[in-house]
Amino acid sequence: MSLNEVWEAASASPFQPLVPKDSQFFVGFCLLLLAVIFTGLFGLNRSFLSLASVGLPASLLFGFGSVFMICAVGVYV
């Protein structure tokens, strides 16, 4: 099977980005803002409970938020 046939066979399933280009800034900004707020909350109370309840989500939000934000500013990673 030539790769052109693979391309033709896949015509019904074009790539769909997780977040469209137009929404990347909004999504990235929101996630990063939440990450900053959660980081602040963790800074106020650095207990293990706070690490698990606030630090962990803050890290997750920062991870995804920064990926969307760097895409939104034109560095497509």
Partner: protein, 500 residues
């Protein structure tokens, strides 16, 4: 973290090793006294030489007959070594069944006694004794046109000189042959007239087409030359791209295909006799008079192309205009170089733009497997043509992509590219923003292309799983979480001064 890095590094190493169908052009070595066996006869041969562009485009249609007692598969096409290196986009098809695709062609090293190099055409089915096949051979010869006079005034007409043999170089006996030369205009001040090759006028002229022959060459030894030279008007730039580097960056997270083309351009036309005059140039420009300089470059872009830029060694060049298409039609990027590029002058620049990835990427039936279809080169569209001495195309796939395969799309007519075995392909890793391991990069290198290859398309398939995609956010997640854990641990250390 180290375990994580080691694991993904291991995955990548195996993935690079597992990548298939990578090619590296090799040339067959032949014995010093090699001569192809006389197993074929060219019954009739017609060569069309097109000089309308800044390079030579030749198509040869030849009826080949097997005169041996056994079936034959290999047909040799000779070129002198210095010409061989400048032949680009060499392709052979069965003229009567062009939709069956191109034949496999191998290149050889030079044979020391004759100085010839050969293309060996492998016929898909052995040609039985006494049977015939019509071959359609097409190729371009780069850098074979020389300006005469070599220096001209700024507003003068430019003339090019082209030398070739009236007898088409062939390894086999040819019964009849003729050559049709197509000029860009009827202004052909000098051309060789032959006296003893055929009865009647030779060449026969019809508008801008000159026909040498037909000649009865049954008794002419293969390899005999009869030099012909023509000189014709070509008041257009001879645009030569010394090197084109093209980057295509695929981003699944951003849903974007970023393209950047970097050009090292030269005009191979007549040089200026005297110093450049800005006044004369402005005057000629105002009249839109034909010129041997590159005045403007029109660069068609695919529908949906956005964020174009045009930068040279100094910085942003503001004399450009982008006319975006209306969503379905192609856009045009109109570039005016910082200065007109006269004969012998160089200009290097880069252009880039973005596209939505959805138009170029599809998910195949196999889970986590993707197929990408992108133009091999895009480049300027100009009536005078563009020749590319060397093209390096880099497809930067997302980090973690593996099992990479590629192919160029083939149609019923020439796509301007050489055969797959003449394209040098390699895989490497390219590290840039937010990368832990580097992105899988497919690099394709081709020598000797022309703007005929503008319509050629490259198809790449690769595997890219959810875990590969999550590598970036999870790395950042791990980094920040480590900071939080460190903060928590440090804040729990009791540093108070008290009695324990």
């Amino acid at each position: 973290m180290r375990f994580f890095t080691a694991t993904v590094l291991g995955l990548l190493t195996s993935s690079l090793a597992a990548a298939t169908n990578l090619t590296s052009p090799s040339r067959l070595a032949l014995p010093a006294d090699f001569k192809p066996q006389q197993v074929f006869k060219n019954t009739n041969l017609v060569r069309n030489t097109n000089l309308e562009k800044g390079y030579v485009r030749e198509t040869i249609n030849v009826v080949v007959e097997n005169i041996d007692k056994q079936a034959q598969t290999d047909y040799y096409i000779p070129f002198p070594s210095d010409v061989f290196e400048r032949v680009g986009g060499f392709e052979v098809r069965d003229k009567k069944a062009t939709d069956k695709g191109r034949f496999v062609v191998d290149a050889t090293e030079a044979v020391s006694t004759s100085g010839n190099q050969y293309f060996i055409v492998h016929l898909p089915e052995p040609l039985a004794p006494k049977s015939q096949i019509t071959l359609g051979i097409s190729y371009s010869v780069l850098n074979s046109l020389s300006p005469r006079p070599a220096t001209i005034g700024q507003s003068d007409k430019q003339y090019l000189h082209y030398a070739f043999s009236a007898y088409v170089p062939s390894a086999y006996q040819t019964i009849t042959q003729k050559t049709k030369v197509k000029f860009p205009s009827t202004d052909v001040p000098d051309y060789t007239t032959t006296s003893d090759l055929k009865s009647g006028a030779d060449p026969e002229r019809k508008g801008a087409t000159y026909t040498y022959g037909p000649y009865d060459t049954a008794k002419v030894v293969p390899g005999t030359e009869y030099p012909i030279a023509v000189r014709y008007e070509f008041t257009n730039p001879v645009v030569t791209v010394h090197l084109l580097e093209r980057d295509l960056e695929v981003s699944h997270w951003g849903g974007n295909l970023a393209t950047e083309d970097r050009y090292w351009l030269r005009n191979n036309g007549s040089e200026l006799t005297s110093q450049f005059s800005r006044v004369d140039w402005t005057f000629a420009n105002y009249q839109r008079a034909p010129t041997s300089a590159v005045r403007e470059i029109t660069y068609p872009l695919k529908p949906g192309s956005v964020d174009p830029y045009f930068i040279d060694d100094i910085g942003n060049v503001s004399t450009s205009r982008y006319r975006p298409g209306n969503g379905k039609t192609a856009g045009n990027l109109e570039l005016k170089p910082r200065y007109p590029i006269f004969g012998g002058w160089n200009y290097s620049f880069k252009v880039g733009w973005n596209n939505d990835l959805a138009a170029f990427l599809r998910e195949t039936a196999k889970p986590d497997s993707w197929v990408l279809k992108v133009p091999f080169i895009q480049g300027p569209k100009a009536s005078e043509g563009v020749q590319y001495e060397r093209v390096v195309v880099r497809v930067v796939l997302p980090e973690g992509a593996h099992n990479v395969r590629f192919q160029t799309a083939e149609g019923s007519s020439s796509n301007g590219l050489p055969g797959a075995n003449q394209i040098h392909a390699s895989l490497s890793s390219f590290k840039t923003f937010m990368d832990t391991l580097g992105r899988t990069t497919l690099t394709l290198e081709v020598d000797g292309l022309t703007d005929e290859a503008r319509d050629a398309e490259l198809i790449v398939t690769y595997d890219y799983t959810l875990m590969d995609a999550l590598r970036k956010p999870l790395t950042l997640f791990g980094g920040l979480l480590s900071v939080f854990i460190a903060l928590w641990a440090i804040s729990n250390i009791d540093v108070s001064i008290k009695k324990r």
